[in-house]
């Protein structure tokens, strides 16, 4: 019985996922795909955090690109201008983004619906403008060069393969943490807040503390992803951290399926690899993206993973109904 419940638990999925990530590289036909997988991993980390905020707790953020960018720029500036080692850059980025997310989170999460969406959107735009304008620090609109390659305690990540494993480990750690949180008393409280804030508070849940807390956590995930991005690209520019990327992040979570961590990873994988497929139709990328967004949301509003789940369940149900109808 214990084995059976384990197999059905998310931890089984986690182990399977780990195994897949471990054996994937030799199966790739082209090293370029490693590059894509690295980006998928980086985006998946942000998407998981955003899903905890949006899918589980029901709070919308249209400005998460800002936290991603802050993570990237903080470590990037420290690395390029002060030659700080990447690990130090990570620590400062996490602390800095954490504090900023906490300060902005307190007033922001008192808002709901469209007001919350606009506040996060406004925050994201303001941060991006600072990236552009604080040229002496950030290199301005043309970006920041000279970010060091990733080295951790002397070990150099000087190949895509090594970076892939670094990103994978980071993804697995955030994934494990998130699964633990979601399955716990904290996770229930978050879902309760999404269900009814007033009922949650009459049961003793400090709604605003949980909302700000999960907002900060999701910002930290994004900052971690920004750190990975910064030392991979060794170059960052403000245009990567704007409104459109924030929308893309929300799309990953929503299309993947809200409230499903696997959905967030799936959505990240889908949306990161999509431009690769549409490469031929580069001009059409925006149009197609917009079209897919609208179509999926209109016809499968619960997201692709849940939508597919529903279809599969319906097929099974109709098959078993047919079996039953055939008689003994």
């Amino acid at each position: 019985m214990r084995i059976l419940s384990f197999v059905r638990s998310p931890y089984a999925g986690f182990l399977l996922f780990t195994a897949v990530l471990a054996v994937l590289p030799p199966l790739l036909t082209n090293d370029y795909y490693l590059n894509v997988l690295i980006f998928i991993g980086i985006h998946a980390i942000i998407a998981i955090g955003l899903d905890l905020l949006l899918g589980y707790t029901g709070q919308i953020s249209l400005g998460h690109a800002a936290f991603f960018g802050l993570g990237a720029y903080i470590t990037g500036v420290l690395s390029a201008k002060a030659s700080w080692p990447p690990i130090a850059g990570l620590v400062v980025a996490l602390v800095g983004v954490g504090i900023l997310a906490y300060i902005i989170g307190i007033p922001t999460l008192k808002l709901h619906g469209h007001y919350l969406a606009m506040a996060t959107l406004g925050f994201g735009i303001i941060v991006q403008i600072f990236f552009k304008e604080l040229g002496f620090l950030t290199g301005g609109p043309s970006g920041l060069v000279g970010i060091q390659d990733m080295t951790i305690f002397g070990y150099e990540f000087d190949s895509d393969l090594k970076y892939y494993y670094l990103v994978s480990v980071s993804l697995l750690l955030t994934l494990l943490l998130s699964i633990n949180v979601v399955q716990s008393r904290v996770g229930r409280a978050l879902k309760a807040i999404h269900g009814s804030e007033v009922a949650s508070s009459v049961l003793g849940i400090n709604v605003s503390r949980y909302k700000v807390g999960i907002f900060v956590l999701s910002a930290l995930y994004a900052a971690l992803a920004g750190w990975l991005y910064s030392h991979y690209m060794t170059f960052v520019s403000p245009s990567s951290f704007g409104f459109m990327f924030s929308i893309k992040l929300v799309t990953m979570v929503v299309i993947g399926s809200l409230g499903s961590i696997w959905g967030a990873i799936f959505g990240a994988a889908l949306l990161t690899s999509m431009p690769e497929f549409l490469h031929v139709f580069a001009n059409y990328e925006t149009t197609v993206f917009g079209f897919i967004l609208v179509t999926v949301m209109v016809f499968m509003p619960r997201g692709l993973l849940r939508g597919l789940e529903d279809i599969v369940l319906r097929v099974f149900k109709s098959l078993s109904d047919q079996e039953a109808a055939k008689g003994p």
């Binding site: 406004g122 403008i129 600072f130 929503v254 079209f291 967004l293 609208v294 949301m297």
Partner: protein
């Protein structure tokens, strides 16, 4: 120019652009008032207004006024198509879904526009020439007067429409009490359709009248839409005069900030004002607090 003359100049610019923000915000309010939806594609109506006018003049060789009319009607139609294709089929209209759908629609429209018109800016000639008018040491562009004049006509027209005509009142009724409205025979779905058409109309008008001063281009819709939405929130979402106050306040503060502090931070100032409003007075300048009933 002395400092006070400079400030006056910034004020003039601010009121002009603020009027545009107010018009765009009005488009948001019209749809919000009839459906509680925020149409993030509103800015694209502004962009299409300008670009369709340009094409009507270049390809159909229409004179400006006629081209503008074609454009305004065209965008109104596009608005209704947006409602029919992307909003009406939605079965579970929760805020997150609708926000993403309208954002997706705006991305789609922007994509199509980049294919049709490319990414370069297009000019539209000023309605009555470009000789600046002296005004207490500052100058007013004649186009500014067109902006304010046309905005005034639109605002008064809407006041009349929503306040005095049956259709207008029916639209407000559909928003407040959809079930009651249906019971008295109002076709609420049609009211929503009209609201999208009107929203397209006013967005296009805003785009056409500001284009001579700031060029029109496939991606101006993003910022225009956001600033228009800011204007609506600052004034009080859904409030008729609120968006006028909010838009002008936003335009003036933005212009003063850009002129006196720094132009690079112009948008940061605008959104900073938005954040302050949301944190300290989310119901806006003229809005009233709503209580939640449990």
């Amino acid at each position: 120019m002395t400092l006070s003359q400079q400030i006056l100049q910034y004020l003039i610019t601010g009121v002009t652009i603020g009027t545009i923000y107010a018009l765009i915000g009005m488009g948001f309010n019209i749809i919000y008032n009839s459906t509680e939806i925020i149409n993030f594609a509103q800015g694209e109506f502004v962009m299409l207004g300008g670009l369709i006018t340009v094409s009507s003049m270049q390809i159909l060789h229409l004179p400006l006024p006629l081209a503008a009319l074609v454009s305004v009607i065209g965008v109104a139609i596009i608005g209704t198509l947006l409602n029919l294709a992307a909003i009406r089929p939605v079965k579970d209209p929760n805020p997150i879904t609708l926000i993403i759908i309208t954002i997706g629609a705006s991305i789609f429209i922007r994509g199509i526009s980049s294919l049709l018109w490319g990414k370069e800016p297009y000019p539209i000639p000023a309605f009555s020439g470009e000789d600046p008018i002296a005004f207490f040491g500052a100058v007013i562009q004649p186009q500014s007067l067109w902006v304010m004049g046309i905005a005034l006509v639109i605002v008064l027209g809407f006041r009349q429409f929503f306040g005095k005509t049956i259709t207008g009142k029916a639209m407000m009724a559909s928003a407040f009490q959809p079930r009651a409205a249906k019971l008295v025979g109002i076709d609420t779905r049609f009211m929503v359709l009209i609201s999208f058409a009107l929203s397209g109309l006013v967005g296009a008008a805003a785009g056409i009248v500001i284009a001579p001063m700031s060029m029109t281009q496939y991606d101006i819709g993003v910022m225009m839409g956001l600033k228009g939405f800011c204007a609506a929130i600052i004034g009080g979402l859904g409030h008729f005069w609120g968006v006028v106050v909010g838009g002008i306040a936003l335009g003036v503060l933005e212009s003063l900030g850009a002129g006196l502090i720094s132009s690079g931070y112009k948008d940061a100032i605008a959104f900073g004002i938005l954040l302050l409003m949301l944190f300290f007075r989310p119901q806006g300048i003229l809005g009233r607090t709503k209580g939640d009933r449990v």
